[in-house]
């Protein structure tokens, strides 16, 4: 199989600051690639490049997909009084970018939206105002919104941020199921490898312009991370989880990714 996402000799710089350069990354259909790194390392910018919102400074990229690329954003607080239900949010994921009112083809649309909502188990609240749903419920709908168009490529920008552990697992499992069933290639930007560790085929770890691509074991070890961070890092494996000690401030520990810190 040939890769659906192909990034070669790519660089991204803002003014004199280079986020990364000489980046090569091919993603095969059905492959789950995690993108990790501290804040400001250019993880989100990489997704923006692939979405066509950010031009590369050098190098090339291609996304081979007949249908629009799926995109799951960070969970953000939505206006509580917003005139929008879950099914409308998912429906916009299907054809919201097209001109016109969308009154034609309503039946087909309704059918596909209902299927996508069922696939993420959101039937019971799909007709409630989205602004009143919990962060976890909103993110499930976000996954349905990204997948309803049956994309060949799914880009996720910290979709687990601010979710509690149970919802982190549920949302990651949904994304994993999709790529196994439909061969969707997944690029998953995250601070936290553990919720998705069992799904990840390969990972891209970015630190201050340096990067490493490889299987989780090849990247998440003391030697590789110490080289990337240029300081002594201790990687411990405890019960199927990875814990990184040292350089905490540069890693993920300062990020609000626990339920009790969530902005409601």
């Amino acid at each position: 199989m040939s890769p659906v996402v192909r990034i070669s000799r790519a660089s991204l710089a803002f003014g004199s600051r280079t986020l990364w350069s000489g980046l090569d990354l091919d993603v095969e259909p059905g492959e789950f690639v995690a993108v990790l790194g501290p804040n400001g390392s250019g993880k989100t910018s990489l997704l923006k490049v692939l979405l066509g919102l950010q031009p590369l400074s050098a190098g090339t990229y291609s996304v081979r997909s007949d249908r629009p690329v799926g995109y799951v954003p960070q969970q953000r607080a939505m206006q509580e009084a917003l005139t929008l239900r879950g099914i409308d949010l998912v429906g916009l994921g299907l054809d919201g970018h097209r001109w016109g009112t969308g009154l034609r083809g309503m039946r087909e649309r309704r059918h596909r939206v209902a299927e996508a909502i069922e696939a993420v188990g959101a039937q019971s609240y799909a007709r409630s105002p989205v602004g009143r749903l919990s962060g976890g419920e909103q993110q499930r709908l976000r996954v349905a919104q990204a997948l309803v168009g049956e994309p060949d490529v799914l880009l996720c920008d910290e979709p687990l941020l601010s979710l509690d552990l149970a919802h982190q697992r549920a949302v990651s499992a949904l994304i994993d199921a999709r790529r196994r069933e439909a061969g969707t290639a997944v690029l998953f930007v995250t601070h936290e490898i553990n919720p998705i560790l069992s799904y990840v085929d390969r990972m891209l770890y970015l630190v201050e312009g340096r990067f490493r691509v490889g299987k989780p074991d090849e990247v998440m070890n003391s030697q590789t991370l110490s080289e990337l961070y240029r300081t002594r890092i201790e990687v411990l494996r405890v019960g199927g989880q990875i814990h990184v000690a040292g350089a905490q401030s540069a890693l993920c520990e300062d990020e609000p990714h626990h339920l009790d810190e969530r902005v409601s």
């Binding site: 690329v69 929008l84 409308d88 916009l92 970018h97 016109g100 549920a170």
Partner: protein, 297 residues
């Protein structure tokens, strides 16, 4: 006071052609305002509507002075305002203050223009609070033409505009041109506002552009249903306001705004009572829900 409920007189007046013209104009405005309203509320543009209306007033005052049709002046003023707001107020943090600055300048300029105008005071007052009985058949053609253009453009941009309004990040990721849409929509709102200036006046346009949609948003989260309700509410306020104003011969805008506000209050009350009912059911159902929740995780 008994003139308020003189239905015989109301019936008589309804037979007059200028009253019928006024009703038709109000119906057209109600339709346009109702269709645009939910998007205005979603995009939090109430203040922008008010600001645009003040510049429509400035334009109308200029037209009065130059002896041109009011509707053209109002249209020019509102469209210029919309473009200014669309171009200068790109950043959300600045939008509020940009509107305030433009609005006050426009209103001051309008006052100056009116001071220069030597004609009747009623005409001056009319642009501020509406003067629907003065609408002539030629005005009506301009009004309907402008409304048709607004509705056609809205039909083309509706879906991506809704997407960019409610879900800007994902819409941008899908390539929806949010900036362009926001300027186009501001112009549509400007045109609709200019239509409203003739009927309810510059000061009170918000009663038809915003209040019905805000009321509808209290009742439903379904964008389509909210739009239908907003049209019904706007029509009720616009047509009902004119009919009620006939017998006492009072200003139309007083009745339009009163009906509009009454509908809003009723919708808030309904939503409040419904919200309480939902809370009670949720409390009773909570234990069962929790169990189910854990099972499917």
């Amino acid at each position: 006071m008994d003139k308020f409920f003189d239905f015989g007189l109301t019936g008589q007046l309804l037979g007059l052609s200028f009253v019928q013209t006024a009703l038709l104009a109000a119906a057209v405005l109600g339709l346009v305002a109702g269709l645009l309203g939910p998007l205005i509320v979603m995009r939090r543009m109430s203040f922008a509507v008010h600001g645009t209306a003040e510049l429509a007033f400035t334009g109308a005052a200029g037209a009065l002075l130059l002896g041109v049709g009011l509707e053209y002046g109002a249209l020019a003023g509102a469209v210029i305002a919309a473009l200014l707001l669309g171009l200068l107020g790109g950043r959300e943090s600045e939008r509020d203050s940009v509107i305030g600055a433009i609005l006050s300048f426009g209103l001051g300029l309008g006052v100056l223009l009116l001071w220069f105008y030597p004609g009747r005071a009623a005409n001056k007052f009319g642009i501020l609070v509406g003067q629907i009985v003065s609408i002539e058949p030629t005005n009506l053609i301009v009004l309907i033409g402008a409304a048709v253009v607004v509705l056609l453009v809205l039909a083309v941009i509706y879906r991506p505009l809704l997407f960019a309004s409610v879900d800007p990040h994902v819409a941008a990721a899908r390539g929806v041109p949010a900036r362009l849409l926001s300027v186009v929509f501001a112009v549509l709102v400007g045109v609709a506002t200019a239509l409203g200036v003739q009927i309810v006046g510059a000061l009170l346009v918000v009663a038809l552009m915003v209040t019905p949609a805000a009321a509808a948003a209290r009742l439903t989260a379904n964008p389509w249903l909210a739009t239908v309700l907003a049209v019904v509410f706007a029509e009720t306020a616009a047509l009902g306001g004119i009919i009620l104003s006939l017998a006492p011969g009072a200003p139309v805008s007083a009745f339009v705004t009163a009906i509009s506000f009454l509908i809003y209050l009723v919708c808030r009350l309904v939503a409040y009572r419904r919200g309480r009912a939902v809370k009670v059911t949720a409390r009773e159902a909570a234990p069962a829900d929790l169990v189910q929740h854990h099972q499917h995780l």
